[in-house]
Symmetry: C2
Subunit: 163 residues, 2 copies
């Protein structure tokens, strides 16, 4: 079944998922961040098929999240590197890992932890203005300049937002 | 093509994606957060097929991210509500929206913005210890107690992590 695309949604979550939310893509970004960045290493680490990996890397490149550069001595060998939009997704993926450690507790404990500036660090979503950790209860959605009543926001745009 | 599952991965990103990373699921969580929470409203807002929505809601319920409760006068009507693990994903989805606003700039500007405690708020990933915003450069991955060299971490577990 072909995936429905979200490109006509007036929703920035949908627009983000359109470029990074396909199955496998977040794990490819994770691996590139961790230094697993050649085609063969990605296949070996993820167990992804070569054709699917080729397609995902092409999408990520077309969307500007990664670039490739020649690697080693053979001309047809590349390594794949995160570009700024891709690098900015890494802290988000780290919050997702922390969420998984809390709610889908892995056998044996978390496989990966984080440090920052020499101390322990649980990646947390916080307010840019006051640095307080955000929750669904304290985060208040407000319509932005691009709010429109189209697919993906048809109901949302027609009613007051919760507050 | 059936989706490969990640359940044998020793990776908390993969474990999280297993329960919330399917196509449509983040947008269903977004809608529930925004108060679009009956089956018919979700269909109308997202344009998702009824069979796919049924499957996604069942998965979310089985994984404890949502619950349903009777709604209105008919016995077979429900509304779907976020449970704590689902509610905790909302700030993460808000960071994804902010990323989309920065890098996939929507026509007409952001459709949705956020406030917190009366001020403007860009949901930002920060360190739980010092509240500094995290970047891929300052976030340091370290092996956790559950680190194992299995599928999804075969290469990662066999080499030093970047620092």
């Amino acid at each position: 079944m072909p995936r429905t695309d979200y490109s006509d949604f007036a929703c920035s979550v949908a627009r983000s998922l359109e470029v990074m939310g396909q199955w496998w893509t977040p794990l490819i970004l994770r691996d590139l961040y961790l230094g697993v960045n050649t085609f063969d290493e990605l296949v070996a680490d993820l167990g992804i098929s070569r054709s699917l990996l080729t397609a995902r890397l092409a999408d990520l490149g077309a969307n500007g999240l990664i670039r490739r550069e020649p690697y080693g001595e053979r001309e047809d060998r590349y390594r794949y590197l995160l570009e700024p939009p891709g690098r900015e997704l890494i802290p988000l993926l780290a919050t997702l890992a922390a969420w998984g450690d809390r709610w889908q507790t892995p056998q044996g404990g978390p496989p990966l932890l984080f440090e920052h500036a020499g101390h322990e660090c649980v990646p947390t979503v916080a307010c840019s203005t006051c640095s307080e950790a955000l929750t669904a209860e304290t985060l208040v959605p407000v319509p932005g300049p691009g709010a429109r009543a189209v697919r993906g926001t048809a109901v949302v745009a027609s009613r007051p937002l919760p507050s």
